[in-house]
C-alpha cells in the first residue's frame, strides 16, 4: 500500500489510531458498511446523483474568496473557503447528502443521528426530508435547552428530536444514545455520524464525503493564482470533519502546512478546555482508538468550549495520527480569542462566521505569516446559530460600532 495520510489501512487504522472497537451487537451493521461503502461510493449512478445534489441542492462549488481587508491587516494572502454558503449554513450537509444516498442503496428505512449544537442534526433532518425517510436525532438534554432554534428547525423538517438524559447530557451522550438505538434497530436503520469519528469505516467515509472541500480549493486556487497549492491550510477541529475535508487533498503534499485549531475554552490548562491533542491520552471512545480527554482512571472528561460544535472530548483518528506523526500543526484558541476573531471577520469582511470557524481565524493573531504565503481557511459555517452567544458573551464588542478599530 502507498504511504498516505488520506486513508486508513483495511482495518481502519491511521497509524496506531482508529479501528472498530464495538460490541458484538453492532458487528453486522458495521461489517456491512465496511464491506460495501467503497463499492457503493464508486458506482457511476451514485456519483451522478451525488454530484447533481451537491451542485443543485447544496449549492456547490462554494466560492473561494480572497479576503482583501483581512489579508491587508495581517500582511499575507488569506483565502476563505465559503462552506458557510452551503445549504443549511455549514459543511455538514456534504456528508449527510452522501450518507443518505448510501443508506438508500443499503435499503435502510430509518435514519438516526447525534448532534451537539444542532448543525449536523439539521443537515440530517434536511436530507431525510429530501428523501422522505424517517429521521430521529439524539441531542443532549442540555444542548436542547441551549440550541432552541436548531431544535425547531429539525422539528419543522419533520425529524423527531430525542433528548439524551444520560451522563453529562451533551454531545458524547447523544452519541452514546444514537449507538444504543442502532443496537436496538439492527436491520432497518442507518446511523449518520456527523464527524470523522466512530468505528471504521466512518472516519474514512465521512472524510471522503467532505474531501470535496479540498478538491474544489485546488481547482479554484489554480484559477486564481496559477498554483493548486496553498502554503497553509487551516481549519478548526472538534471531531474534525471540516478539517478532514479541507486538508484531504493536501495531506500528501509535503510543501503544504496543515494547521488544525482546537478549542482551548478558558485556556488549555484551565480545566475548562476542549483541546484534545494537548490534554488527551490514547483511548477508546465511540468505537475507535484515538486521543481522548480522560481522567487517570480512564473515565471520559467533559470538555468545555464556548462553541458547542467543538465541545467534544475526542478527535477523529485521522487527526490523532496527523498530530502524533507531526504531519499536522495543532494549535488552539480560547473562547475570548474566538469571539475577537468572529467580530473581526464581521467588521472587516462582512461575514459573520460560526463560533467554531472563528477559532481557526483567531490563529492570525497568534502566528506570523509571510507576505508571499497563501493561506486557505475553511470557513466551515455561518454564525446565525451563534447570535445569542455573540449578543451575550460579545456584548461589549457589539456596542463598539466601529470598523476602524479592527
Amino acid at each position: 500500500m502507498i504511504n498516505t495520510y488520506q486513508h486508513p489501512d483495511e482495518r481502519g487504522y491511521y497509524g496506531v489510531f482508529g479501528g472498530a472497537f464495538i460490541p458484538e451487537m453492532l458487528h453486522r451493521n458495521v461489517e456491512e458498511l465496511q464491506e460495501r461503502y467503497l463499492q457503493i461510493m464508486g458506482e457511476a449512478s451514485f456519483q451522478k446523483e451525488l454530484q447533481e445534489l451537491l451542485s443543485d441542492y447544496v449549492g456547490r462549488p462554494t466560492p473561494l474568496y480572497l479576503a482583501v481587508r483581512l489579508s491587508r491587516k495581517y500582511g499575507t494572502n488569506i483565502y476563505l473557503k465559503r462552506e458557510d454558503l452551503c445549504h443549511t449554513g455549514a459543511h455538514k450537509i456534504n456528508n449527510t447528502i452522501g450518507q443518505i444516498l448510501l443508506a438508500e442503496r443499503l435499503g435502510k428505512k430509518r435514519i438516526i443521528a447525534e448532534t451537539g449544537a444542532g448543525q449536523h442534526g439539521v443537515a440530517t433532518a434536511t436530507v431525510c426530508a429530501l428523501k422522505g425517510v424517517e429521521c430521529v436525532v439524539f441531542m443532549g438534554e442540555k444542548d436542547i435547552q441551549r440550541q432552541a432554534p436548531n431544535v425547531a428547525r429539525m422539528k419543522m423538517l419533520g425529524a423527531k428530536v430525542v433528548p439524551a438524559t444520560s451522563g453529562s447530557k451533551t454531545l458524547k451522550d447523544a452519541t452514546n444514545e444514537a449507538i444504543r438505538d442502532w443496537i436496538n434497530h439492527p436491520g432497518d436503520t442507518h446511523y449518520i455520524i456527523g464527524s470523522v469519528v466512530g468505528p471504521h469505516p466512518y472516519p474514512d467515509m465521512v472524510a471522503r464525503f467532505q474531501s470535496v472541500i479540498s478538491a474544489e480549493i485546488r481547482k479554484q486556487l489554480k484559477e486564481k493564482t496559477g498554483s493548486e497549492l496553498p502554503t497553509h491550510v487551516l481549519a478548526c477541529v472538534g471531531g474534525g470533519s471540516n478539517a478532514a475535508g479541507a486538508f484531504f487533498h493536501f495531506l500528501d503534499e509535503p510543501t503544504v502546512e496543515i494547521i488544525a485549531i482546537e478549542a482551548a475554552g478558558h485556556g488549555v490548562d484551565s480545566g475548562m478546555s476542549a483541546a484534545t491533542t494537548q490534554l488527551g491520552l490514547p483511548g477508546i471512545l465511540h468505537g475507535s482508538k484515538s486521543l481522548l480527554m480522560q481522567t487517570p482512571d480512564g473515565q471520559v472528561v467533559e470538555p468545555h468550549s464556548i462553541s458547542a460544535g467543538l465541545d467534544y472530548p475526542g478527535i477523529g483518528p485521522m487527526h490523532a495520527h496527523l498530530y502524533a506523526s507531526g504531519r499536522g500543526t495543532f494549535l488552539s484558541a480560547t473562547d475570548e480569542e474566538a469571539l475577537d476573531a468572529a467580530f473581526e471577520l464581521a467588521r472587516l469582511e462582512g461575514i459573520i462566521p460560526a463560533l467554531e470557524t472563528a477559532h481557526a481565524l483567531a490563529i492570525l493573531k497568534k502566528r506570523k505569516f509571510k507576505e508571499q504565503d497563501r493561506l486557505v481557511f475553511s470557513l466551515s459555517g455561518r454564525g446565525d446559530k451563534d447570535m445569542s452567544t455573540y449578543m451575550t458573551a460579545g456584548a461589549e464588542r457589539m456596542d463598539k460600532n466601529d470598523h476602524h478599530s479592527y
Binding site: I22, E24, G167, N176, R180, I183, I284, H286, D297, G298
Partner: protein, 257 residues
C-alpha cells in the same frame, strides 16, 4: 482449568450468573453484595467495572455506574477491595467492563492484578476479535484468565464458531440485538438458542439481556446452560435505603429454592 470449568463440569443446567456493579450502591458495597449473591445460591458473579460511557448498557446499569464513579470507584480501589475476596467468595468471579479504563490502568497490569486477587475471567465487550488475537488475547491467557465473547442472533454461524473458539469459560449469548435492560420475545430467543445448541460448541452457553425473573430465567435455561441477570438485580438493590437485604429474596425467587 479454573473455577468456571469446575462449575460447568459439576452443573450443566440452570446456572445463574448475577451481574453487579462494583462500588454500587455504596463504595464499600462490592464485597458484601458479592457475598450476599453467593450465599443466596447464585453460581457465578459478574462484577461490572464502572465506565462513564457504557455503550452496550441500558439506563439502569449506566446509572449504577455513574453512582459507583461518584462514590469514588476506580480500578485501583476495586483491586484493593478484591484483595481479600477469596477469603469468603468461592464462586467464579468475572470482571466485565469497557476497554478504555482497562487500557489506562495498563492492560497487562490489569490482567496480572485480576489473576492475583482470584478473578477467573473477563468480558470486554468492545474488544474486537482481531485486536484480541493479535495483541490482547495472549496477555489474558498468560495470566490464566478466561476470555468470554458475546454472540447475538445476528452473529453468523461462522462467526459464532470463531468466537466460541476464542472464548473459554462460557459463551455469552445476548438474547437479541439490544442493549441491556430491554424486554424480549422469549419465543424468538428460544429458537435462536436451539440454533446455537445445534452448532455443538465447545463452551457452555449463558444467556443474557432481558432475563429479569423466574419465568424468563426458566425459559432461557430450557435451551442453554444458564442465564445472566443484571438490570433486574441492579433495580432490586436500588431502593432508597441502599438495602442489601433484598438480595436473598430476589435470587431465591429466581432459582426457586
Amino acid at each position: 482449568m479454573g473455577r468456571l470449568s469446575d462449575l460447568f463440569n459439576r452443573k450443566q443446567r440452570n446456572v445463574l450468573n448475577v451481574y453487579c456493579t462494583a462500588g454500587f450502591p455504596d463504595l464499600g458495597s462490592t464485597i458484601p453484595v458479592m457475598q450476599a449473591i453467593q450465599e443466596s445460591g447464585a453460581d457465578i458473579i459478574e462484577l461490572g467495572m464502572p465506565y462513564s460511557d457504557p455503550l452496550a448498557d441500558g439506563p439502569v446499569i449506566q446509572a449504577s455506574s455513574s453512582v459507583a464513579l461518584q462514590n469514588g470507584m476506580t480500578l485501583e480501589v476495586l483491586f484493593d477491595q478484591l484483595r481479600v475476596m477469596r477469603a469468603n467468595i468461592h464462586v467464579p468471579v468475572i470482571l466485565m467492563g469497557y476497554m478504555n479504563p482497562v487500557m489506562q490502568f495498563g492492560f497487562e497490569r490489569f490482567c496480572r492484578k485480576a489473576s492475583e486477587v482470584g478473578v477467573d475471567g473477563v468480558i470486554l465487550p468492545d474488544l474486537p476479535e482481531f485486536e484480541f488475537e493479535n495483541e490482547y488475547g495472549p496477555i489474558i491467557k498468560k495470566h490464566g484468565l478466561d476470555a468470554i465473547f458475546l454472540v447475538t442472533p445476528e452473529t453468523s454461524e461462522d462467526r459464532v464458531r470463531k468466537l466460541d473458539a476464542l472464548s473459554s469459560g462460557f459463551l455469552y449469548a445476548v438474547s437479541s440485538s439490544s442493549i441491556t435492560g430491554s424486554d424480549k420475545n422469549m419465543d424468538e430467543v428460544g429458537s435462536y438458542l436451539k440454533r446455537l445448541h445445534g452448532y455443538g460448541l465447545k463452551n457452555p452457553i449463558l444467556v443474557g439481556f432481558g432475563i429479569r425473573d423466574k419465568t424468563t430465567f426458566d425459559q432461557a435455561c430450557t435451551n442453554a446452560h444458564g442465564a445472566i441477570i443484571g438490570t433486574a438485580f441492579i433495580q432490586a438493590i436500588s431502593g432508597p435505603a441502599n438495602d442489601l437485604s433484598a438480595i436473598p429474596a430476589f435470587i431465591k425467587n429466581i432459582i426457586g429454592t
